[in-house]
Amino acid sequence: MAMKPEEALRLIAARRGDAICVPTMTTSPAWRTIAPDDLSVGCVGFMGGASSIGLGLALAHPERRVLVFDGDGSLLMQLGALATNAGAGARNFVHLLFRNNVYHTSGAQEIPGGDGVDFVLMAKGAGYREAFAIRDLSELERRLPHILTADGPLFVELHTTLADKTPMTAGMGVPFAKQVETLREKLLALGAGR
């Protein structure tokens, strides 16, 4: 049975260690409640960019895991990113796709191709080191240690229900520029040993 995205995020939050996290769209409201003081930056206002921001962070900080919480509609907007992410070969890069087959935020219209789109196959074809799907919470719990330690680029499709809130129903939260500034300051302070 598909998992609730909030339950998946809670599980990840509890085990993520010092990972940098990049939520987008419907994972954003839940993540800022579950992990408000995390090393996070949400992809807001340019749909499809989450994995690219995550890739930049992963290349800048190879010593730290980077977890991207992408959406299926979002990924379809920048599908070429799969090849760029795979080609960059960052071992610390984990691309988690929260798959619900709809554009939830804009009213739950079905994504092009619906559930016939095989994102795992596309990620494998693009060259990700590993790509697989997880269909329920117990499987995520069982495989999470591997997800958080295996060499990337890693692609994991999580089959989820709709989120309780979208960015439109929950409000947009902290402005993107403020999130950017806060994460940069935190990372520079860590680099300076402050």
Binding site: C43, G45, F46, G49, L55, Q78, A81, G191, A192
Partner: protein, 185 residues
């Protein structure tokens, strides 16, 4: 008349620009964890192909080829947040393709992104704004609409604009660009 700029001159200028950026971070006590000087994010531009070819042999500059300019903008944001110096090398058509990301990332996100934009098909004897090619003609006006400061590299004497506009992007916490007037040599 505009002149072509040799690739080694551009690459040396990029290295100097990145060294200055690293020095600024070091002055804040930030330790670099990398051996390279900085990143070039490219969606290959025919106009700057001699620079891209020369970059293939460079060890001090890391090059990442992106599928789209949208990606290049967002990867640049991640690298900058992570403390890495970065330049985005694209073509005017790529600028047109990625205006929403330019707006969302560099402007709304206040991420300093410095662009080197090739004016492919620019006529040597014409001001770009008078080009018969719309992709050349609309580039500067588009940057003006978005309030992106820009300068033209019209010959070897203009390469100082690379470091100046890179620095400007950091100072204003937003986009800045130089336009490569003729194909690099």
């Amino acid at each position: 008349m505009p002149e072509s700029i040799p690739a080694p001159l551009i690459i040396d200028t990029l290295k100097d620009t990145f060294k200055e950026a690293r020095a600024a971070l070091a002055a804040e006590g930030v330790r670099t964890r990398h051996e390279h000087l900085g990143w070039i994010l490219s969606v290959p531009d025919t106009h700057q192909k001699s620079v891209l070819a020369a970059l293939d042999k460079e060890r001090a500059l890391r090059v990442l080829t992106c599928s789209t300019e949208d990606e290049a903008n967002a990867v640049a944001a991640g690298l900058w947040i992570g403390g890495e110096p970065v330049v985005v090398m694209i073509q005017h058509a790529g600028l047109y393709a990625s205006v929403n990301t330019l707006r969302g990332v560099a402007m709304d996100g206040r991420v300093p992104i410095f662009y080197m934009i090739g004016l492919l098909s620019r006529e040597k004897d014409k001001d770009p704004r008078e080009s018969r090619h719309s992709m050349v003609r609309y580039c500067e006006p588009l940057l003006d609409v978005f309030g992106v400061p820009h300068a033209r590299l019209e010959g070897p004497n203009d390469v100082h604009f690379i470091s100046e506009y890179y620095r400007l992007s950091r100072e204003r916490r937003g986009p800045a660009a130089v336009l490569v007037g003729l194909e690099t040599s």
